[in-house]
């Protein structure tokens, strides 16, 4: 299997879908000539022309709204919002229109569109450019939210998102674009709403998504050398959420930690915690723990930013605490 970057997987998938279906088109700021701020659309303008790869005025509400209208006309727009931080400007079109038109128009008007957007800190981009706001969208019925952590899932989930008849928020992550992994050749559709067991284990379950899932897998591999068996559930989809896979894993390991890049309060971990309480309470040997970002606007300075973001050390510490607190069982 070829080993390519997450960025290349996205680029290849966009090319494949543009080739497969002439109704698919890309829309966003700087995606044509400039090939996207993160070069996800590299080469696509040359290949498909300005109608299929449409540079737009600098107005997120504008191009998301126009994409919705185009979707109602039967096209399949894939919008790129430069970072999830700028999606706030398009909030009304995303939440009040993309998510609701299908229902409000009586199920007669699907809005098959994708909004690709990277989130995440760690790049020293400051408080307004480093946020993890996926939970805002994961809260909204009518939207689907996917957050792949590997190049293979980037391919499989982007393909699925473009072919899906519902609006899908496709969450990328700035620190994942250069990561590499094996990606199968040919058609690859990953079902939206299905989590993956990124690593099997028996002692404790770590639930994560996007960048956090990569950290969780790395941490699990290290701890394995000490004889600690960590299972990692990569959520992949935040909405719909695969509660079954989460609960089955926790029933097996009896311990759960959520690793998430968003802020602790009201974050993804809160939903996972509640899910485990409802679906695996009797199996738990310890309360569910959450490892999340410090609840501050993400700082600019590197030492401060590092302090604010959750990392492998934070996760390792909490895993050890969980195991020590329940050592009677081991």
């Amino acid at each position: 299997m070829p080993v390519i970057t997450y960025r290349q997987a996205l680029n290849d998938t966009l090319r494949a879908e543009l080739t497969r279906d002439e109704n698919v088109f890309l829309i966003g700021e700087e995606i044509g000539q400039f090939e996207g701020s993160y070069k996800i659309t590299a080469g696509l303008l040359d290949e498909f022309g300005p109608t299929r790869v449409r540079d737009t005025p600098i107005a997120e509400e504008g191009f998301v709204g126009a994409a919705i209208g185009a979707a109602m006309m039967g096209l399949r727009p894939v919008a790129e919002i430069m970072t999830i931080n700028f999606s706030l400007i398009a909030m009304d079109q995303i939440v009040n229109h993309a998510a609701k038109i299908y229902g409000m128009f009586g199920g007669q008007t699907p809005v098959p569109m994708v909004i690709r957007t990277p989130g995440g800190g760690g790049q020293q981009l400051g408080a307004t450019h480093s946020q993890n706001l996926e939970v805002w969208y994961a809260h909204v019925p009518g939207l689907k939210v996917v957050a792949p952590s590997t190049p293979a899932d980037a391919k499989g989930l982007l393909t699925a998102a473009i072919r899906d008849d519902d609006p899908v928020i496709f969450l990328e992550n700035l620190s994942l674009y250069n990561t590499k992994g094996e990606v199968p050749d040919g058609e690859q559709v990953t079902e939206i709403g299905k989590a993956a067991i990124a690593k099997e284990g028996t002692d404790i379950t770590v639930i994560a998504y996007s960048r956090a899932s990569v950290i969780a897998v790395e941490t699990a591999r290290k701890l394995e050398e000490e004889g600690i068996s960590v299972e990692v559930v990569d959520l992949r989809s935040l909405r719909p959420l695969d509660r079954q896979t989460v609960c089955e894993s926790v029933r097996k390991t009896s311990r759960a930690v959520v690793l998430e890049d968003d802020w602790l309060s009201y974050g993804v971990g809160a939903e996972i915690s509640a899910t485990v309480m409802e679906g695996a309470f009797d199996y738990l040997d310890a309360p569910v723990r959450r490892v999340a970002a410090a609840e501050v606007p993400l700082p600019y300075a590197k030492p401060m930013e590092t302090a604010a973001l959750p990392d492998a050390q934070d996760l390792t510490k909490v895993i050890r605490e969980q195991l020590e607190a329940t050592s009677f069982f081991r």
């Binding site: 088109f25 109608t51 449409r54 737009t56 005025p57 107005a59 509400e61 504008g62 191009f63 998301v64 709204g65 126009a66 994409a67 919705i68 209208g69 185009a70 979707a71 109602m72 006309m73 039967g74 096209l75 727009p77 009304d92 079109q93 009040n96 229109h97 609701k100 299908y102 229902g103 409000m104 128009f105 009586g106 199920g107 007669q108 008007t109 699907p110 019925p141 009518g142 689907k144 899906d164 008849d165 519902d166 709403g193 719909p240 959420l241 509660r243």
Partner: protein, 367 residues
């Protein structure tokens, strides 16, 4: 006196073909666009305006009688809506706000479908693709972007279909219509921005939204605009046809400001007597779109008793159907609340539905 009351409401620079007293005046630039409007068409335009006003009064009565939760009257805006709506082709697509019942009538909407939303049964009354008109949009101005995107799709498909977006003077202050104009101009999208300036955004006079005529903004975006007498059905028709022709021939968007007046409340929940000056309203009453066409028909010898009797009978018949349709609307099944959230139901939602089914079963009859 308010500093916001009249700066963009004067009649200077208005396109007019019918004066308020019914006199037909010549306009070299616009006449040719309505040259085909013969006596039969004039009578038919009159009939449509009378019928939609009658629908409006019937719906208002239904609201007052507790049969509708709310109704947004169009009284005073019949010429703006019928004049533009009648010029559209079947394949053109309308993105309107919530007051365009007259436009919906032109699109051939079922009368009952006009009422479903306002009886509190559904979010939308009809299948958008049956009449090529999206259901009511109640977020102010957002449909302008949908129209622009739809128009981009038409452009991409290489068809000469036009999207038209209706909105009011209040919406012109929102971001979406302004962004829509940027996009439409940049891509020369086949879209028409049709602003019904009815002078009021609930209680806020148009001068609070615009210190200069609204139509004068569009050229700054690179979009040609027209400011027409919105109570003059012929001027509205001519302007809309010019805009349609421009869009169909690949020459991009047009902005039309139809200067009209909301003779009624914003909705049946509003009481304009708290903020509208009686003299202002009387001034507009004298420019009424229906009485002006009536006077013109009279001057042409077309306003016979037989004709007006037939029109009024048609209007009463439609009103009776509106009432009958309204009272016959059955409330939706509670379980349908879970329908249409996603194109395929999710297991999580199915579970919530099952829980509600079990809850309902605790009642006698399981309903």
């Amino acid at each position: 006196m308010s500093t916001h009351d009249s700066s963009s409401a004067d009649d200077g620079g208005l396109v007019q073909l019918l004066l308020p007293d019914g006199e037909r005046i010549a306009d070299a630039g616009y006449d040719k666009w309505v040259a085909d409007v013969d006596d039969d068409q004039l009578k038919s335009l009159y009939e449509d305006m009378v019928v939609v006003r009658r629908i409006d009064t019937e719906a208002t009565a239904l609201q007052r009688q507790g049969e509708l939760g709310l109704w947004p009257p169009l009284i005073g805006q019949e010429a703006a809506q019928i004049g533009s709506g009648r010029t559209l082709r079947q394949d053109d697509f309308v993105f309107a706000s919530y007051r365009e019942n007259g436009v919906a009538y032109c699109r051939g909407v079922e009368y009952t479908d006009l009422l479903r939303v306002w009886r509190g049964h559904t979010h939308s009354g009809w299948n958008p693709y049956d009449i090529n008109m999206a259901p009511s949009q109640v977020i102010i101005g957002s449909q302008t972007l949908h129209a622009t995107g739809y128009a981009l799709g038409c452009q991409q498909d290489g068809v000469d279909t036009v999207a038209i977006s209706y909105f009011g003077d209040g919406a012109t202050s929102q971001g979406d219509p302004n962004e829509a104009m940027v996009f439409a101009a940049s891509f020369q999208a086949p879209v028409i921005f049709f602003c019904q300036n009815n002078q009021w955004a609930i209680s806020e006079p148009v001068g609070l939204q615009a210190r200069a005529p609204i139509a004068s903004r569009a050229p700054g975006f690179g979009i040609p605009s027209m400011r027409v007498d919105g109570n003059d059905v012929l001027a509205v028709m001519a302007a809309t046809r010019i805009a349609l022709d421009r869009a169909r021939s690949g020459n991009g968007p047009t902005y039309i400001e139809a200067v009209t007046y909301r003779m009624g409340p914003h909705t049946t929940s509003d009481d304009p007597s708290r903020y509208v000056d009686v003299l202002e309203r009387e001034g507009w009453q004298a420019k009424d779109p229906i009485s002006r066409l009536e006077a013109y028909l009279q001057s042409r010898g077309l306003l016979t008793d037989e004709f007006t009797g037939r029109v009024n009978a048609t209007a009463d018949d439609v009103a009776a159907k509106v009432r009958e349709g309204c009272l016959g609307l059955e409330p939706p099944e509670p379980l349908s609340v879970f329908d249409h959230v996603y194109s395929e139901p999710t297991s999580w939602l199915e579970r919530q539905k099952d829980e509600y089914v079990q809850y309902l079963q605790t009642f006698e009859g399981g309903q």
